[in-house]
């Protein structure tokens, strides 16, 4: 039987130890450690991907809801400039609802409250709410946004 053991040189000694059956247990432990490390790494990557996907979806929902809110706000300003009395408008979009309610506070000022929600009824759905102050010009009949709260 050929032996790998030799007394010449450090590397040869390491090689001899590595090839030794006595160290099979150590090799097994190292391999197992590598395997677990790789499993943990993969789990972390997959978890990262899932949270990244969720973050992207949430971000897209927020953008979508923002556009819904802007749409009803624009409609509210438009209606206010045409008829200066309190009112509301509700819109159903493909993936959510938006509503605006406005009150005329004085001869030249009105307040619009806008709320929009994506995927209505789903917990954790993106929401947008804003309160907008509008200046009404009695002479030109126009309405313009002066402040967003």
């Amino acid at each position: 039987m050929k032996s790998y053991r030799t007394r010449s040189g450090c590397c040869s000694q390491i090689a001899a130890r590595w090839h030794s059956r006595r160290d099979t247990g150590l090799a097994f432990v190292i391999t197992l450690g590598l395997f677990f490390a790789m499993t943990i790494l993969i789990a972390a990557v997959l978890q990262g991907n899932v949270s990244q996907r969720r973050a992207l979806k949430d971000r897209h929902d927020r953008i979508q809801v923002r556009y819904m809110a802007e749409s009803v706000l624009h409609e509210a300003v438009h209606t206010l400039s045409a008829e200066r009395k309190p009112g509301k408008c509700e819109r159903v979009f493909g993936r959510g609802d938006a509503a605006a309610t406005w009150t005329v506070e004085s001869n030249d000022e009105a307040v619009i409250e806008v709320s929009a929600v994506s995927r209505t009824g789903v917990p954790g759905a993106a929401r947008e709410a804003m309160r907008v102050r509008v200046r009404l010009d009695p002479q030109t009949g126009s309405a313009s946004i002066v402040a967003r709260e």
Binding site: I42, L56, H78
Partner: protein, 169 residues
């Protein structure tokens, strides 16, 4: 007895042990490779999503600005929108993921592609009455997305009304 133990100690790995080790290392390498490929794929899908989102937002921004600044919606259908201003006319044409904005004034015409994204669908809906009495435009942009990013069909929609006469821009 001692000699036999020494012989066994110096015998090294058997073929089976070597094959198992190589197999485990291969599994680890393949898993690592898949992991790396997944990271690269996800990053690519995310970058493409951001590009499409930016294009869609750009188109919505331009349409919003032009509708607010227009005096009349001259004509329009699902893929076409014509806005008339005091001294010029703005035409939007949407087809095959390409959105063109043509601004025609008395002295010059400006034709530009404002978005060119494959599978981007832009739709214009004139609400209420038909042109030239229509006052509101709903612009809807949707596109096919890689399911890997979790949003299969992203949609952005914005309704904009013409400003009333005398209303500041």
């Amino acid at each position: 007895m001692i000699r036999r133990r020494r012989d066994r100690a110096g015998r090294g790995f058997t073929l089976i042990e070597l094959l198992i080790s190589i197999g485990i290392i291969n599994i680890i390498l393949v898993m690592g490779g898949l992991c790396f490929a997944e990271i690269v794929r996800m990053r690519g899908a995310r970058d493409r999503y951001y590009e499409r989102l930016a294009a869609a937002q750009h188109v919505l921004h331009l349409v919003e600005r032009d509708v607010k600044g227009a005096g009349e919606i001259a004509d329009g259908d699902e893929s076409r929108l014509i806005l008339r201003r005091e001294t010029s006319e703005v035409v939007y044409l949407a087809k095959d993921g390409e959105v063109r904005r043509i601004e025609k004034a008395a002295d010059k015409t400006r034709d530009e592609i404002v978005a060119a994204v494959p599978r981007l669908r832009v739709r214009f809906d004139l609400e209420g009455q038909s042109p030239p009495d229509a006052r509101t435009v709903a612009t809807t942009i949707e596109w096919e997305e890689n399911p890997q990013i979790g949003i299969s069909r992203p949609t952005l929609s914005l309704r904009v009304a013409l400003r009333e006469r005398g209303q500041p821009q």
